[in-house]
């Protein structure tokens, strides 16, 4: 399994370079530049997409990054969902087998639930505080567009940082998610926010749309990631366990 190693930024020789991932910027998006960097470190190409545009610019996949779009004052993601670009994303992501791969990270996950591309919702953390910590997760489904570079049940450590990260859904939905293998990531070594059934990330039925609360884009570059890795000892801030999310979609799209 081993996992992917970091690839040099903008590596022209990479076969993955032909894949272009669009990263959406809303007013209040914060981790958009980080997501672009993560795609490039994974060997792909990335461009910024503007929430107000009506054109997906032929990207092969889309990332909705973390942040506090529109301040998150009403409900996280509630206002962004109505952005013109979200209409394009919603229809492109709902097209069955060859639908557009979409990843929502943190606020992006919240946007996807508000847009009903993913079930459930996020409410305030059970302890009511913002929490930033290095979080261990288990990849429960290595079959999605965004997880195929991991082994089934592989564990990873990536940063978690949010205030409204408690995943909730009714029991029927939760059972359905479990039954269909759509729980993609689960918190291990302690649930940081009270999420139902320790769920950290889920997918739609087709597996092209994935949302997760922790931040893989903050664990892609040795020296700037978490202090630990599920793969063994790493140096200071040496964790790069998040890179596999980005290599997964690139490899899958290259075929």
């Amino acid at each position: 399994m081993g996992g992917p190693q970091p690839v040099a930024s903008n590596n022209d020789d990479s076969p993955l370079n032909g894949v272009t991932v669009g990263v959406v910027t809303f007013p209040g998006s914060l981790d958009d530049r980080d997501a672009v960097r993560a795609v490039r470190l994974a060997g792909g190409s990335a461009i910024h997409l503007w929430h107000g545009d009506h054109d997906l610019r032929n990207v092969d996949a889309v990332i909705i990054p973390g942040g506090f779009s529109y301040g998150d004052y009403l409900r996280a993601g509630a206002i962004s969902r109505f952005a013109p670009l979200m209409e394009q994303i919603t229809s492109a992501a709902s097209g069955g087998a060859d639908a557009l791969p979409v990843l929502g990270i943190c606020n992006g996950f919240q946007v996807l639930t508000e847009a009903h591309l993913l079930p459930g919702s996020m409410i305030k953390n059970n302890h009511l505080h913002f929490i930033c910590r290095d979080q261990r997760l288990r990849v429960e489904n290595a079959g999605t567009f965004w997880t195929s570079d991991y082994g089934q049940d592989e564990e990873i450590v990536i940063p978690l940082k949010n205030q409204d990260g408690q995943f909730v859904a009714d029991n029927r939905t939760l059972d359905e998610l479990e039954g269909e293998g759509r729980v993609v990531f689960r918190y291990v070594d302690g649930n940081p926010n009270g999420s139902r059934r320790d769920i950290a990330g889920i997918s739609n039925a087709a597996g092209n749309v994935v949302g997760l609360m922790p931040h893989p884009e903050h664990a892609v570059e040795a020296g700037f990631g978490p202090d630990s890795s599920a793969r063994g000892e790493v140096g200071v801030r040496g964790g790069t366990d998040g890179l596999g999310i980005f290599t997964s979609v690139l490899k899958k799209l290259v075929g």
């Binding site: 206002i79 919702s121 009270g194």
Partner: protein, 86 residues
């Protein structure tokens, strides 16, 4: 100016962490008369002019699409209020 009030409450079956924290804090300040607390939202939409049926319809639409998320919340009221009224 007239206002339309929209009340949104967490669905009864959804855990309400804020309400729970308040329920836990009340006895600590000596207030023991309550069996539970739920925290919701109250929106006041100001209308410039008269509240027509169409505007009330807009408010209802806002209530269910933007101001609440049906997965976790119920709209419990959409109503025009008198000046200084509730």
């Amino acid at each position: 100016m007239p206002r339309i009030v929209v009340d949104v409450m967490p669905k009864p079956e959804i855990l309400d962490p804020q309400g729970k924290a308040i329920a836990g804090a009340l006895p600590r300040i000596g207030l023991t008369g309550f069996a539970g607390v739920r925290q919701g939202k109250r929106f006041e939409l100001t209308v410039d002019g008269e509240v027509t049926g169409e505007i009330l319809e807009q408010a209802r639409h806002a209530a269910t699409t933007l101001l609440s998320n049906p997965v976790i919340e119920d709209v419990t009221r959409v109503e025009v209020i008198e000046e200084d009224g509730q």
